[in-house]
Amino acid sequence: MTAVLPGAGQAPAPGRAGSLLRAVLRQVGTAVLVLAVVVLLWTVLLRVFDVSPYVGKTPAEVWTTLFGEDDSAELRAEIGALLGQTLLDAGVGFVAGLLSAVVLAAVVVRYRLLEGAVMPVALVLQTVPLIALAPILILAVGRGYVLVATMSAIVVLFPALVNIVLGLRSVTPQMRDLVLVYGGSPSTVLRRVGFPSALPALFASVRIAVPGALTGALLAEWLATGKGIGYAVVSAAGRSQNARVWALVVVVTVTALVLYLLAQLVEAAVLSRFGRAEAAR
C-alpha cells in the first residue's frame, strides 16, 4: 500500500470513466465467482460431513424459504426490518470507529510522545475478546446506541489506526522540508501532505472496516440490544428454527459482500481521481 507514483500513472490514460467501468466489471465478476465458490463449498461440505437435513439447509432450501413459500413475503419483510436495524448499528459503529481512528492517528503522528499512550490501549481493546468486554461495557454505558457504537468501533479501530498512521508517516522528508521551508507548521504538513498521501491507507481501512463494523454490530445486538439480525440468529437457533437461521445468515453474508464491493468501488473511484489507480488494487 505504499504510495509510489510510477511513470505509468502519467501515461495517456484511457479516461477516468473507462477505468472506473473496468473496475466495476472486475468487482462484479469477482463477486459472482466468490458466490459460486461459496455455494459449491456449502453444498459439498453438507454432503461430506453428512449434516442432518434438519439442521443443514442447502442453498436451494434457503432460496425456497426466502422466496418459494406462502409466508416467504412475510419472512422477507421481517428480515428486511432486522437488516435495516443491523445496518444502522453497523453504520454507527463504522463512523465512530473510523473517526476515532483518524483522530487518534493524527494525534499519534503529530505528537510522537502520545504514541506510547495510544497504541497499547488500542492493542488491548483489540486483544480482549468483545464477549468478555460486553458485560463491563453494558454496565458502563447501558444497552443503547452508545454501546453499539463502542463495540462496533472497537472492532474497527485498531486495524484502521495502524493503517492510517502508516499512511500519514509515508510523507517523504523532501515533501515535509518543502512545506516547512515555505513557512508551514508540522500541522500544515499533516494537513496538506500527510492526509493526501494517507488516502490509499484510509480507503484500505474503510474496506476492512465494513465487515468489521458489521461483526461488531452483530455482537452488540446479540449480547446487549436484542435487536437486529445479531440477536435474531441466536434466538432462532435456540428455538430450533433452523431454516430461519440459515436465511438470516445468508442475507447478512450477502449484504456484507455487497458492502465490501461498494467500498472497493468507492476506493477505486477516489484513488483514480487522485491519480493513484494502481494503489487501488
Partner: protein, 352 residues
C-alpha cells in the same frame, strides 16, 4: 482304555471351545436374553434442559443406582443444557431430551421436527417472571406493561411470547431485554423482571436475603407440562424397547429421588455438578420444592411421568391460546409409557 478316554476329553474340550467362540461371535443375542430389562440397548445420550443441578436428582439416582444399566443400556452420557434441545434430539445427537410442551410444540408445528413427548417429569411448569418485591414487583400479567423483562434467547422467548399472548398484552408494551441465565441483571436493577424457574433462580435470589415476587406461568393462563421427555418418531417406531427401558430407568430414578431429596441434592452438589460450585442449601430446597411439581393427585393414582387426558387437553388449550397450531397426537405419544406400566405395574408406585 486310556487312549479313547483322552480322545473323548480332547473332543469335549474342543466342543466347549467352539461353543464359547460361537457365544462370543453372536454376543448380542445371549446377552439380550440375560439382561433384566431386555438386553444390550447400546449407549444412551440424554440431553438435559439445564446444568447438572438437583433438577436432575432422579437422573443422578438412576445412574448411581444402576437403573440405566439394569434396563439394558451399556453406558449413559448426560449432556447439560441449556441449548437447542429439540434440534439436538431431532438430529439424534441425543437419544432423549428434556424440554417442555410449548417449546417442543412450536418446533414441531413450525419446523416439522419429527419429535414426540413420551412422558413428563413436571406436571406443572415451574416457569415464572421473577421480580424484586421492592423493585418491579410484578404480581399480575398487567404489571408487565411498561417493564423491562430479561428473557433468555431461544425457547424461553417462545414461552414469554405465549405469556403475553394469552394475557392479551401487546408485545410492544413490554421491553424484552436479552439476558443470560444469571439473574444478576435483576439484582443490579438493569431489568425489572427475569424469566426464571420457581425451583431455581427464584430460590437463589431469595437465599441472598432478597424478597421476591413471582408471576408463575402455570397460574397465569399458561399451564403446561415441563421437563418432558422428547424423542424422535423414528426411535418410537423402530426402537420402542429403548424408549421403554429409558422411561423405566427414569421412573426408578425418580422413585429414589422422591424418597431421599437430601441425597438428590448431595449427588448434584458433590458428584454430578461438582465443578459448578452449587449451594447445598439451595439445591436441597429445590429438591424438596420440585417434588410438588412432580407428584400431583393424578400422579399418585397413575404413576410418575404419566400425563392424564385432562392434562393433555389443558396443554392443548394453552398451545391454542399461545397461537401454536398443533394436534395432540402430533405432540404426545404416551403409548409406550402405558405399555410399560401395564407390563410392570410396580413402577406406578410412589415412595411413601
Amino acid at each position: 482304555m486310556p487312549l479313547p478316554r483322552r480322545a473323548a476329553r480332547a473332543g469335549a474340550l474342543l466342543t466347549a471351545a467352539v461353543l464359547a467362540l460361537t457365544a462370543c461371535g453372536s454376543g448380542d443375542e445371549p446377552a439380550a436374553a440375560a439382561g433384566e430389562g431386555g438386553g444390550d440397548l447400546g449407549e444412551l445420550t440424554l440431553q438435559l434442559s439445564w446444568i447438572k443441578n438437583a433438577e436432575f436428582a432422579g437422573e443422578f439416582f438412576a445412574d448411581t443406582n444402576g437403573h440405566y444399566t439394569d434396563a439394558g443400556f451399556t453406558s449413559v452420557t448426560m449432556d447439560p443444557g441449556p441449548g437447542a434441545i429439540e434440534t439436538l434430539v431431532a438430529t439424534e445427537d441425543a437419544d432423549f431430551g428434556l424440554s417442555n410442551a410449548v417449546s417442543t410444540a412450536q418446533v414441531i408445528a413450525e419446523e416439522d421436527a419429527p419429535l414426540k413427548i413420551v412422558g413428563t417429569k413436571f406436571q406443572k411448569n415451574p416457569f415464572t417472571i421473577l421480580s424484586l418485591a421492592d423493585g418491579g414487583n410484578i404480581a399480575t400479567p398487567q404489571d408487565l406493561v411498561g417493564k423491562r423483562i430479561g428473557v433468555q434467547a431461544g425457547g424461553n422467548e417462545t414461552l414469554f411470547d405465549a405469556l403475553l399472548e394469552v394475557n392479551g398484552i401487546d408485545p410492544a408494551d413490554v421491553e424484552k431485554v436479552p439476558v443470560e441465565y444469571d439473574p444478576a441483571p435483576l439484582i443490579d436493577g438493569e431489568v425489572d423482571g427475569f424469566l426464571a424457574y420457581l425451583t431455581n433462580e427464584s430460590i437463589t435470589v431469595q437465599s441472598q436475603g432478597i424478597e421476591v415476587t413471582n408471576l408463575p406461568f402455570a397460574d397465569n393462563g399458561l399451564p403446561f407440562v415441563a421437563e418432558s421427555v422428547i424423542t424422535t418418531d423414528r426411535m418410537i417406531a423402530e426402537e420402542p424397547e429403548r424408549v421403554m427401558a429409558f422411561l423405566e430407568a427414569e421412573i426408578r430414578g425418580w422413585q429414589d429421588a422422591l424418597a431421599d431429596p437430601a441425597e438428590g441434592a448431595r449427588l448434584a452438589v458433590e458428584e454430578y455438578g461438582a465443578d459448578l460450585q452449587l449451594d447445598m442449601a439451595k439445591e436441597l430446597e429445590q429438591s424438596e420444592v420440585q417434588a410438588g411439581l412432580i407428584v400431583t393427585p393424578d400422579v399418585e393414582a397413575n404413576g410418575l411421568f404419566t400425563i392424564t387426558d385432562e392434562l393433555i387437553e389443558q396443554n392443548m388449550a394453552t398451545l391454542e391460546a399461545a397461537g401454536i397450531d398443533i394436534a395432540a397426537e402430533d405432540l404426545f405419544d404416551l403409548s409406550l409409557l402405558e405399555q410399560l406400566l401395564e407390563e410392570k405395574p410396580e413402577l406406578t408406585e410412589l415412595p411413601a
